[in-house]
């Protein structure tokens, strides 16, 4: 996750170096929307994401419709004599179980995908929100005040970015008591995620702080708070949108990865990463058990990445114009 964001960040800093029209781009949101609705690929991504979000929001309703809860066992759907392989072809896909069942316990994969979307979406959005706030506030502080504030924050960012984050996450999550896993995940992911945003924000704040309109505001007696919120923050809007959109798929991937490694959400909570992890030993007997959660994870991350890329190019064009 981090590599992608790190890679794009340098490009962004350069882009924003070119002066934006004073007063900020008033129509950026509308422009983004029109561009996306015109682009078929982006539209497909939005559609898929809408489905996933809908699944997450309306999970209990959807499973009521499909008839099987995410934790409900169905012993009749599996063959106890063959180690618990689902009855029927394609991992037990049938009218009763739309996506088939999990081997060994017969839990409905459709229900678990729907509830797993909940976990993925909640955790990734919360982590994005937290890193967004942390990254913007600390990045702006460092870029605006410079001096020792910048020194402290920048060294902290360097430290966190140089840290072997994944190894540390695994270590810390497996040593912490069970507690509230989703919250822990959000905190741990965010703790390592914010510097990537903060670094970009810091660089942009630095250039913006030297610009004429900021100096003009200062000369007309504006206080620091007013300068930061009225003059600088609106000009950072574009990069914040781009950075956060691109961060979400990263966090979804990280959550799935940590769950795959057994330190994510604890069972029986459904999670895509966990499903993929438990499907590994069944790949040759029941490939659908792997394919379905794998496809959902892949498509969600792909959609978000494509969408984030589209938004970036729109924002960049706007910035260059």
């Amino acid at each position: 996750m981090t590599a992608t964001i790190g890679g794009t960040s340098t490009a962004l800093v350069e882009e924003v170096g070119t002066p934006a029209p004073a007063g900020g781009p008033p129509t950026s949101t509308r422009r983004i929307l029109t561009t996306i609705t015109r682009d078929k690929g982006a539209l497909a991504c939005v559609l898929f994401l809408a489905i996933v979000v809908l699944m997450a929001v309306a999970a209990p309703l959807i499973t009521k419709l499909s008839g099987w809860g995410p934790y409900q066992f169905d012993s009749a759907a599996i063959n106890s004599d063959l180690g618990g392989v689902p009855h029927g072809a394609l991992g037990g896909i049938s009218g009763k179980h739309w996506f088939g069942v999990e081997p060994q316990n017969g839990r409905d994969i459709f229900a678990r995908i729907v509830y797993g979307a909940r976990v993925s979406i909640t955790i990734s959005l919360s982590a994005t929100l937290l890193t967004g706030v942390l990254g913007v506030v600390l990045g702006m502080l460092a870029g605006f005040y410079r001096g020792w504030v910048d020194q402290v924050i920048s060294r902290l960012m360097d430290f966190l970015m140089a840290f072997p984050a994944l190894i540390f996450m695994i270590a810390i999550l497996s040593s912490l008591p069970a507690g509230n896993r989703p919250v822990l995940l959000v905190v741990v992911i965010s703790a390592f995620g914010w510097p990537y945003l903060a670094r970009v924000i810091r660089g942009q704040t630095m250039t913006l702080a030297n610009r004429e309109f900021v100096e003009a505001a200062r000369a007309s007696g504006a206080k620091d708070v007013q300068v930061v919120f009225r003059e600088i923050l609106p000009n950072l809007r574009g990069s914040i949108i781009v950075m956060t959109t691109l961060a979400i798929p990263g966090y979804i991937g990280t959550e799935a990865g940590l769950s795959f490694l057994g330190v994510g959400v604890s069972p029986p909570t459904a999670s895509w990463g966990q499903m993929i992890s438990s499907s590994v030993s069944w790949y040759s007997v029941d490939p659908m058990f792997f394919a379905i959660p794998g496809a959902f994870l892949f498509l969600t991350v792909l959609s978000l990445t494509v969408l984030g890329d589209k938004i970036r190019s729109v924002v960049d064009q706007g910035a260059a114009a």
Binding site: I78, V85, Q104, W282
Partner: protein, 559 residues
């Protein structure tokens, strides 16, 4: 002993018995006659806990110890009940008792040597046994400490010196003085703690890194967690040993393999893997080994262990008998069995003692249709107890897929009763330490127990004698301290007829189950796929159903 879970990937689980489904006895299969020579490969997931015989104590290492070490007596080497019969090993017989069974005398055979060439004397046997009292070393088989008389302050030969209650009148004779008469002491001296260790040696971790062999093989190379190579010990004389066939020239263990990788390699059987044996196959591989060719290489049988859920009777509301009985009724054993791999890998348990134990009766005190749980009855009992509104129960579980799956199955089964089961994941390496420490254990825990020899004496008293609850290393997970049960245990211990005692243990099983301190879940089975060049293999009842290592060999040693 505890189920050899550290070794569950290797040889710890499964056993041969009447209901074997594989082709173990087909002449061309793994049951054929083994030739002399060759190196037998063992593919394993986890390494061995200890190579020091005073320390290691599970079905997996006990099996390996027989290759390296000898004891005064040992279990037979044959399928079925013959395998659990006690036969002389270092001693000339299974012991002579005097003083009403309080004093036992053993005489060593002639021609016994350590790998160093030094003769094995009774002083070496005594040295080995007295190591069991060392607080650091004596963490394995507890029987020597429990049964042989010793001063209360005795702490092993390195700290406290000589143990006066074991006498060695001459180099061939050893005399044990017991705390109280023990009719089956001939079985006790088959435990690993009775391995001879040269006098003065074996302090600290010495034997864990370099065992001093008395058996047919000695250690050639050991990389803990990676590999272990055993080669022939030329000081071992086959004429002195009626048990060990010791056909191969060596054994080569490879540890740290993923269980799925082991299955793939065993199914493919390429290269030296045709000379390999491995542990129980994964549930996911069962569907793949149904072809006639693979079925011929498959062996299956009960492991002789019981997997159960202990209910901590000191915690509220589990101190209420009705609540415990409600849980007994509610648990859906079908889903628990499916969680470990279905009917091929486990039978459903109803009594505490597994079917391989002598004197065990087949009965089901908490019946339900197809063992799927009787929620109505459970609900009625809970309401009677005043817990109709449910409660929260913390279940200790290992961070291992199989255990997690079982925990989730239990969680699901208790959900209709509004009992919220919180799964408390504990790292596999510290699991037994945590649940064996009453101050740290939670409400319930899933674990297993295998008899050290197939008698109720090694099953019920260690698990349910209230006076054996210790602050650390406690095996009475339920912390049941019932005067009736304690009295019955004492009463049976006094019986001198082993058969009568076994039958009495069958009754005690029922008496304990009426108190519902544990929920018997499964009698797990072993399902092993061996290489095509393996011969002389059978599942040994005494070693949690592992392939008996002293009998197995290669069909064609030159291959």
């Amino acid at each position: 002993m505890l189920v050899g879970l550290v070794l569950s990937g290797t040889l710890a689980l499964s056993a041969c018995s009447g209901n074997a489904t594989g082709a173990a006895d087909s002449s061309a299969g793994p049951g054929g006659k083994a030739a002399q020579g060759g190196t037998l490969q063992v593919l394993a997931n986890a390494g061995f806990s200890h190579l020091d015989p005073a320390r290691g104590f599970d079905g997996g290492v006990n099996n390996v110890y027989r290759l390296i070490y000898r004891t005064l007596t040992t279990q037979g080497a044959a399928p079925g009940a013959e395998g659990t019969k006690i036969v002389p090993d270092l001693a000339t017989d299974t012991g002579q008792q005097s003083d009403g069974g309080k004093t036992w005398t053993f005489t060593l055979k002639d021609g016994l040597f350590f790998e160093t060439g030094a003769p094995i004397t009774s002083a070496d046997v005594k040295w080995g046994v007295s190591r069991a009292w060392d607080p650091e070393l004596g963490i394995g088989s507890p029987y020597a400490k429990q049964i042989i008389d010793a001063p209360a302050t005795y702490q092993g030969p390195y700290k406290s010196g000589d143990l006066s209650t074991i006498q060695t009148p001459d180099a061939k004779t050893i005399v044990f003085h017991l705390k109280k008469p023990y009719a089956d002491f001939g079985s006790v001296v088959a435990q690993n703690t009775f391995v001879p260790v040269p006098k003065g040696q074996g302090a600290g971790n010495q034997l864990d890194s370099k065992p001093i062999a008395s058996g047919p093989y000695k250690l050639a190379e050991y990389k803990p967690g990676a590999s272990l190579k055993l080669v022939r010990n030329d000081k071992w004389d086959k004429k002195t040993d009626s048990v060990r066939a010791a056909n191969p020239d060596g054994f080569q263990w490879t540890f740290g393999l993923d269980p799925a990788t082991i299955d793939e390699r065993m199914i493919a059987g390429q290269g030296t893997d045709s000379d390999a044996i491995a542990g129980t196959v994964q549930a996911a591989s069962i569907a793949r080994i149904q072809t006639p060719q693979l079925k011929q290489r498959t062996m299956s049988g009960l492991s002789g262990c019981t997997t159960y859920m202990g209910l901590n009777t000191t915690k509220k509301p589990l101190n209420n008998l009705k609540v415990r009985q409600a849980i007994e009724y509610a648990v859906n054993k079908q889903t628990v069995r499916d969680a470990v791999g279905g009917s091929t890998l486990a039978d459903i348990a109803t009594s505490i003692q597994p079917p391989t134990v002598a004197g065990r009766e087949d009965y089901d005190p908490y019946p339900s249709a197809d063992h799927k749980g009787d929620i109505e009855k459970a609900r009625a009992l809970l309401t009677e107890a005043g817990y109709g509104g449910g409660f929260t129960l913390t279940l200790d579980s290992r961070t291992q897929p199989k255990m997690q799956a079982m925990s989730v199955a239990i969680q699901q089964a208790l959900e209709p009763l509004k009992i919220t089961v919180k799964i408390n994941p504990i790292d596999t390496s510290t699991y037994y330490e945590v649940i064996g420490t009453p101050s740290q254990q939670k409400d319930a825990a899933i674990t297993g127990w295998c008899p050290d020899w197939p008698s109720g004496a090694t099953f019920l008293p260690p698990l349910f004698d209230g006076r054996l609850i210790t602050p650390k290393g406690n095996s009475n997970l339920a912390q049941l301290n019932d005067p009736g049960v304690n009295a019955k245990i004492d009463e049976i211990a006094k019986l001198t007829d082993v058969n009568a005692a076994n039958k009495a243990y069958g009754d005690l099983d029922k008496q304990i189950m009426a108190l519902a301190p544990v929920v018997p879940l499964l009698y797990e089975k072993g399902l092993m796929l061996v290489g095509s060049n393996i011969a002389g293999a059978y599942l040994h009842d005494g070693f949690s159903g592992g392939i008996d290592l002293v009998s197995v060999g290669l069909a064609d040693a030159g291959k």
